[in-house]
Structure formats: structure tokens, C-alpha cells
């Protein structure tokens, strides 16, 4: 029976269900990924931010929250220019991190 509306899935991030296998793989390659303190310097300096909403801070966060699809769409316009690496106060090598993400994760977010 169609009532004209339906149940919507929750937007809440359930950390119990987040698959961390790939993130652990990433962490093995990029131990510094844990060092992000979400200051947002990378986002504010990113030239791709205005085009695809790229934000390294959000990328790191989204990966830990199992939102891989968001990551791929944010990274769509990353130019690998290295500004985020330059400004990161925690010295995270974000450029290599980006390349590693491109190697580990897949476009369909799987």
C-alpha cells in the first residue's frame, strides 16, 4: 500500500558499523593520518574547495566515518598542488595521503 511517503534511513553515523579495514590499510601506509586535529587550515587554503568542496580535514574525517563516497566526490577536483601540505600545522604529508587514498579506495565508494 502506498501512503505517499516512506521510512528514511538515519543520517546518524553509527561507529559500530563503520568498516575500518580500508582505513587501517591507509593508516599502515600513512601513519600520520591519525595526527589530524581538524584545524581546517587545509580546507581554507585549498584551491579545489570552491570547485568540489575539497577539504582534507573532511576527507580524513569522512574516511573514519565510513563515508567513502563523499570522499571521492570531494577529491574530484584536487589538484595535488600541495598547499594543504604546506599549511598543515601537524606536518601531515597530505599530498601522499591523497595519492594513497586514490590507491586504496574506489570511486564507487566500495
Amino acid at each position: 500500500m502506498d501512503f505517499g511517503f516512506k521510512i528514511s534511513p538515519s543520517s546518524a553515523i553509527n561507529l559500530d558499523n563503520v568498516d575500518t579495514v580500508k582505513f587501517e590499510q591507509l593508516h599502515d601506509m600513512e601513519p600520520d593520518v591519525y595526527k589530524c586535529m581538524a584545524c581546517g587550515s587545509c580546507t581554507s587554503t585549498c584551491p579545489a574547495n570552491r570547485f568540489s568542496g575539497m577539504s582534507m580535514r573532511k576527507v580524513i574525517l569522512a574516511l573514519q566515518r565510513g563515508k567513502e563516497k563523499d570522499v571521492v566526490s570531494m577529491m574530484r577536483n584536487c589538484m595535488l598542488c600541495g598547499k594543504c601540505t604546506m599549511v598543515c600545522p601537524r606536518g601531515i604529508n597530505t599530498r601522499h595521503l591523497i595519492l594513497s587514498i586514490c590507491r586504496i579506495y574506489r570511486e564507487d565508494g566500495k
Binding site: 500500500m1 501512503f3 505517499g4 528514511s8 534511513p9 543520517s11
Partner: protein, 234 residues
């Protein structure tokens, strides 16, 4: 007219609800709307407290402020004694007054809501009344409700209601003089003016959308675009 923020702060609900937000997110964490809509009450608070006129105007014209269910769960938990739910009410009030509500799909729903609810109050003295609670518009009310409506004299009598009767009791007929008093209250407190404002802006919007008011009613009452709920577009 003054600046939007100042205008907003004239509302007692904003006065009560907006102190200083520290962006801790306690409100969003338990917000039923944040869980299913693309909505974050913390951001609403942050925008309002930023006093950024452009952002506040955008907010007033957006769907964002219409997602709240006014359950007030946020009020319980805020460590700074804010009431995001109250601020939302003030924002909606302002949006309705200024006619900004017609700029968003969820805002435009104010038209059917006003027609149904104020109609019920002024005609019957109830917010919800069987004569206007049609099964066709509320299929979820189930076959029981359909049956109940079809035999309402009997079902009401069976449980001892005073349906449309004189004197006190369940769903009694509210005396004419009381309804007149309600109308008078609406007239002096701005209730009538609000109904007219909503009507006026909705009429303009309906014209813009090329609809007559009945179509506009159905459209705003029934239509939900993609992108509001979290499930949309994923």
C-alpha cells in the same frame, strides 16, 4: 524595518532561546529532524548568533528552518541554556511575517497548515476535528479511522462522547459565543493578520507558479522534492 537580527530578537522565544552557543552539538545529537533531514540545529544557532544579515536572510528563505519538529528535546540538553527549538519558532515567525516562507518548499507548506489549523480553530474551536481530518488525506490513520468516520455518530456515542452536543464532554459543540471570542482574539492579537499575510504571499507565489489556490494547496500539502530527507539522492 530594522535589521533581521534585531527584528528576530524582539521575539520572546528568541530572547529565551538564544544566549551564547558554543557549538557543542548536543542539540543535533538528539534532534529527530537532524537524524532524518539534512539538518543541523547547531548550524542554525551558529548562523543566528553570527548576526550575519545575509546568512540570516538566507536562512529565513530556506527549507532549513522548517525541518524542526518542535519536540524541544534540544532544550533539555543545551549546556548554555539555549533553546534551538525556540529560536526556530522565532525564525519561522519572522519568515512568515516577511513572506520569506514562500521562497522554500517546506516554507510554502505554511499555507495549507494555516488553512487547516486556523480554519479548525475558528470554525470548530478545535485544532483537529473529524470533519476536516479526511481519511483520504490521512490513509495512515488506518481502516479503523475510516470506519470511525463513516459511523462517527455511533462510534462516538458508544464510548460516551458528546459529539456535536450541547454542554461539556468529548467533542462537544463549542458554543457560538466562544467561537466569536476566539475570532475576536485572533483579530486583536495579530492572528487574523497573520492568516491574511500568509494568504497574500501564498497567493502571489501561486500566481508565480501558475497555479490556482486549490492546486497550490494540494501541491504544497502533498509534494516533497528530492533532497530533503537523508535518503534522497544517495
Amino acid at each position: 524595518m530594522g535589521k533581521l537580527y534585531d527584528e528576530l530578537l524582539k521575539d520572546y522565544r528568541a530572547k529565551e532561546g538564544l544566549k551564547t552557543c558554543i557549538n557543542c552539538g548536543t542539540c543535533t545529537a538528539i534532534c529527530p529532524a537532524a537524524e532524518f533531514y539534512r539538518y543541523d540545529p547547531r548550524k542554525v544557532m551558529d548562523i543566528v548568533q553570527s548576526r550575519d544579515e545575509d546568512e540570516i536572510e538566507k536562512l529565513l528563505k530556506s527549507d532549513f528552518i522548517w525541518y524542526c519538529g518542535e519536540c524541544m528535546s534540544c532544550v533539555t540538553r543545551c549546556p548554555r541554556r539555549n533553546g534551538p527549538g525556540l529560536v526556530i519558532m522565532a525564525l519561522r515567525n519572522l519568515s512568515a511575517r516577511l513572506g520569506y516562507f514562500t521562497c522554500s518548499e517546506k516554507g510554502r507548506q505554511l499555507y495549507p497548515l494555516t488553512r487547516i489549523l486556523t480554519g479548525n480553530i475558528l470554525n470548530y474551536g478545535y485544532c483537529v476535528y473529524p470533519d476536516t481530518f479526511k481519511w483520504e488525506d490521512h490513509k495512515e490513520s488506518g481502516p479503523v479511522w475510516k470506519w470511525h468516520l463513516e459511523h462517527i455518530e455511533d462510534t462516538m456515542a458508544r464510548v460516551g462522547a458528546n459529539f456535536k452536543g450541547e454542554g461539556p464532554g468529548v467533542l462537544r459543540k463549542i458554543p457560538r459565543e466562544s467561537l466569536d471570542e476566539l475570532k475576536s482574539i485572533f483579530d486583536v492579537t495579530g492572528g487574523t493578520e497573520r492568516i491574511e499575510t500568509v494568504e497574500k504571499f501564498s497567493r502571489a507565489k501561486a500566481g508565480e507558479m501558475g497555479m490556482d489556490m486549490d492546486d497550490y494547496f494540494r501541491e504544497t500539502f502533498e509534494h516533497a522534492s528530492q533532497g530533503h530527507l537523508n535518503s534522497d539522492g544517495d
